[in-house]
């Protein structure tokens, strides 16, 4: 008769193995149908009543999560096979191998419709460029040497650096967390459907504070604490906080979304003209 401790150990090992197999399938190194979903579910069910610690429950939910991904892959596989695009990869590989370069070229050009695009200067863009050139200050005026007076070397204290706004009062991560909590509260109060207008969140009484909030908000989005929802046609930008930081965002290919936080835009927001 196995002790409870031993049973738990075996259960953990089984769940670990399930997760490993599922991950191998997700990485496409194994056929999704190699996994018997019913067997896996019965294993998960068998050990579930024994889990009490958070780590074990985490392992259990991780196994279920990966199992769901494998089921999704199985359904995609079935869907793909039922489309007319499905061709046996081995058959296709064989066909490709039989083709010489010329034949392959002929096949490809039969299905290839290259894009047409032009790059050309217009009179308008030339005139724009000339206007820019006229307004551009010469380098010697732009890069004037700063007249810096000589001072004796000394040490600056943290308070002095904070006073000169070189350092912030709080650690950056604390400030970020604080901003995230603020966003979640505001969305609860004023938001609709778990989101609120971007400008309503970053907008503050002073322009300086607005810029500071926009700066912090950009990090909230980059680090996966929140996301933006953009309706380009209506020119509306919403911000949506996540309940938990989405760490996967940092590993995905991201895009930059420029939002101009200019003084004019801030004034428009205070007048209620900007969302």
């Amino acid at each position: 008769m196995q002790s409870k401790k031993e049973q738990k150990k075996i259960g953990r090992e089984k769940l670990q193995r399930i997760i490993e197999i599922c991950m191998a399938i997700e990485n496409r190194t194994r056929d999704p149908f190699l996994l018997n979903v019913d067997d896996v579910i019965s294993v998960v069910k068998e050990y579930f009543p024994q889990w009490q610690e958070a780590d074990d429950l985490n392992l259990d939910s991780e196994a279920i999560h990966h199992l769901a991904s494998v089921i999704k892959l199985q359904s995609e596989w079935v869907k793909h096979r039922s489309t007319s695009l499905y061709t046996d990869p081995f058959l296709l590989e064989e066909k490709i191998m039989q083709r010489c370069k010329e034949e392959m070229l002929e096949v490809f050009t039969g299905a290839w419709h290259p894009l047409v695009e032009l790059e050309q200067l217009s009179l308008h863009s030339l005139a724009e460029a000339m206007r820019y050139w006229d307004g551009l200050l010469p380098l010697k005026e732009r890069w004037l040497e700063l007249a810096v007076s000589e001072v004796a070397l000394g040490l600056a204290s943290r308070e002095e650096l904070i006073q000169q706004r070189i350092l912030g009062e709080k650690v950056f991560s604390d400030e970020l967390e604080c901003n995230w909590r603020d966003l979640k509260e505001k969305v609860k109060e004023k938001g609709v459907g778990g989101k609120m207008f971007y400008w309503d969140f970053i907008g503050a009484d002073t322009y300086e504070e607005t810029v500071q909030r926009a700066f912090l908000t950009s990090f909230l989005i980059t680090y996966g604490y929140a996301t933006l929802e953009i309706h380009p046609l209506e020119e509306e930008v919403f911000i949506k906080p996540f309940e938990m930081p989405n760490t996967k965002i940092c590993t995905q290919q991201s895009i930059s979304i420029p939002i101009a936080v200019t003084y004019e835009n801030w004034q428009r927001w205070t007048r209620g003209e900007l969302l």
Binding site: S84, L85, K95, R99, K101, G110, W112, H113, L233
Partner: protein, 210 residues
């Protein structure tokens, strides 16, 4: 009536400017940009432009978001999210493709890579594609070529060295047609072979008959 015609003519011009000249890093225009510039009837303007371009062997190509082409007539929301391009309507001859800066090896390699990835449900390990191309191309060229396909937007690669089809393939290549051509080319070839063989058989038979 005349006024309406004039409005559509000017909208068509505006659509031509937007579609032919590159406005962003990637070519093509998003539906919502056309919606904003041309108004809610922009699909009709694009239809007229497409009809006009037919005689020039060009077309307005629509690529829907997440590669899912709606089964029914697409809604305005679906069109707003789609991307529009101008592409060649017909086909280039192999000779013409050389004239637009592609070497025969590179283009054939691209065809092989795309069809292989399609056959693997849109995802294949880079190593497998390299092995396949390496059977007919020199090793040093294989990796360079794949990098080039990625740079041009035909393929994309993730952190696990898996290759996928990218935006340019979706805009330029008729995937179904490519697979059909690849499979049919074999049939045609074997048909040609068998008809040649029959002819030869007849030729052999002829003297005997004489």
């Amino acid at each position: 009536m005349k006024k309406k015609k004039g409005v559509y003519a000017s909208k068509m011009k505006r659509a031509t400017h937007m579609l032919f000249y590159r406005r962003h890093q990637k070519p093509g225009v998003k539906g919502w940009e056309l919606h904003k510039a041309l108004g809610v009837d922009y699909p009709k303007v694009l239809d007229i432009l497409d009809e006009y371009l037919k005689s020039l062997d060009l077309q307005v190509k629509t690529v829907f978001e997440e590669e899912i082409t709606p089964a029914k007539k697409p809604s305005i929301e679906e069109l707003d999210k789609a991307r529009f391009y101008i592409t060649l309507r017909g086909e280039l001859t192999p000779k013409e493709s050389k004239m637009i800066g592609w070497r025969i090896d590179d283009l054939a390699g691209l065809g092989v890579a795309i069809s292989y990835i399609i056959s693997k449900k849109g995802q294949a390990p880079r190593k497998d594609v390299e092995n396949l191309l390496g059977q007919k191309l020199p090793g040093w060229k294989v990796s360079l070529n794949i990098d080039r396909y990625i740079r041009y937007g035909y393929l994309q690669q993730d952190d696990n060295d898996q290759l996928y089809l990218d935006w340019r393939t979706r805009a330029e290549v008729d995937e179904r047609e490519l697979i059909n051509l690849l499979l049919n080319a074999e049939t045609k070839k074997s048909q040609a072979k068998s008809s040649n063989a029959t002819e030869e058989d007849t030729k052999v038979d002829e003297p005997e008959n004489e």
